[in-house]
Symmetry: D2
Subunit: 106 residues, 4 copies
Amino acid sequence: MTGITTTGTACELGEHGYITDKARYLARLRRIEGQARGIQRMVDEEQYCIEILTQIAALTGALQNVAVGLLEDHLRHCVTDAALSGGDVAEDKIREASQAIGRLIR
Amino acid sequence: MTGITTTGTACELGEHGYITDKARYLARLRRIEGQARGIQRMVDEEQYCIEILTQIAALTGALQNVAVGLLEDHLRHCVTDAALSGGDVAEDKIREASQAIGRLIR
Amino acid sequence: MTGITTTGTACELGEHGYITDKARYLARLRRIEGQARGIQRMVDEEQYCIEILTQIAALTGALQNVAVGLLEDHLRHCVTDAALSGGDVAEDKIREASQAIGRLIR
Amino acid sequence: MTGITTTGTACELGEHGYITDKARYLARLRRIEGQARGIQRMVDEEQYCIEILTQIAALTGALQNVAVGLLEDHLRHCVTDAALSGGDVAEDKIREASQAIGRLIR
């Protein structure tokens, strides 16, 4: 946060890309938590399976949208900072981001 | 197949396939709600983006597992009942299940 | 292929659901093969990565559509036949279909 | 960072990240084309639906692996070059990459 830091350490210091939109992300995640609670209620009330599946698909979609947003912010801040540092720092961040993308795609 | 059946109505009467496992589904969904809350906390505490993405991938995976379970129960009960009724009821249930599968796959 | 078989053996006898639409499936799969060849050409001509990724997403989508179609035909014929047979045959087909769905969703 | 760079144009000039691995990507894509042809043959020979679905899932997985590889190369070269250029060029590349990621995730 202060000082003589070099090499893309913004990420390690908590200045993640998503912080500027933190309130908006929290609102979206609260909505997602509400969707998860809604699905529980549907099962508890023994609602029709297909409607529960529709809500699960909607919740999965909402999560994927948040993930893509976080990834974009991550590229914009942490990965970009690392690219400016160059060398191993850059390479590590790119590999790490790619693995995260892989976990979301597969 | 015989008798007084009013065509696959088990589903319409709330005797969905997942009901036998209702307690187990509710426990899994409570855990999923907890995961959603955990992700909110990670954002609020400004944790590292990649770790948040890992948790989102885990939550998505847990949701997909619940969806596959519900689908299997749905095939075992509602779609099977409809198949025994035959005709349009069977066809409608199969089309409906396929559309639900499509929403989860794409 | 002939004879005294009973119980949902249509599937084992090659009368799969998709057979009625065989020509249409083959046409779609030929198009998919063409898309795969197109992506090779794009890499060979060193076209822009993002455009290649767009084509991969399109190809994946086309494959998922074929998969959902095959699944629907499978439910309509093999699983329905098994449901009419009842017992273990039905249960096995439902479990098998659910596992296939799981492989496509995850 | 220095010099006569005309802003991240490596990408526009065909020096895409994947070029160093071009032969390997082409080999993987040829294998993918072969898988697509194999699925056609399975349909033509009227093989069992579930086995066809298994092959479709395998082909989709192979395509996703290629996509993640290309994305990683794209981040390593085009997006990194753009980050070094800074400004709108960087922002455009990041947005474009994120949209491509979104198309692959959803």
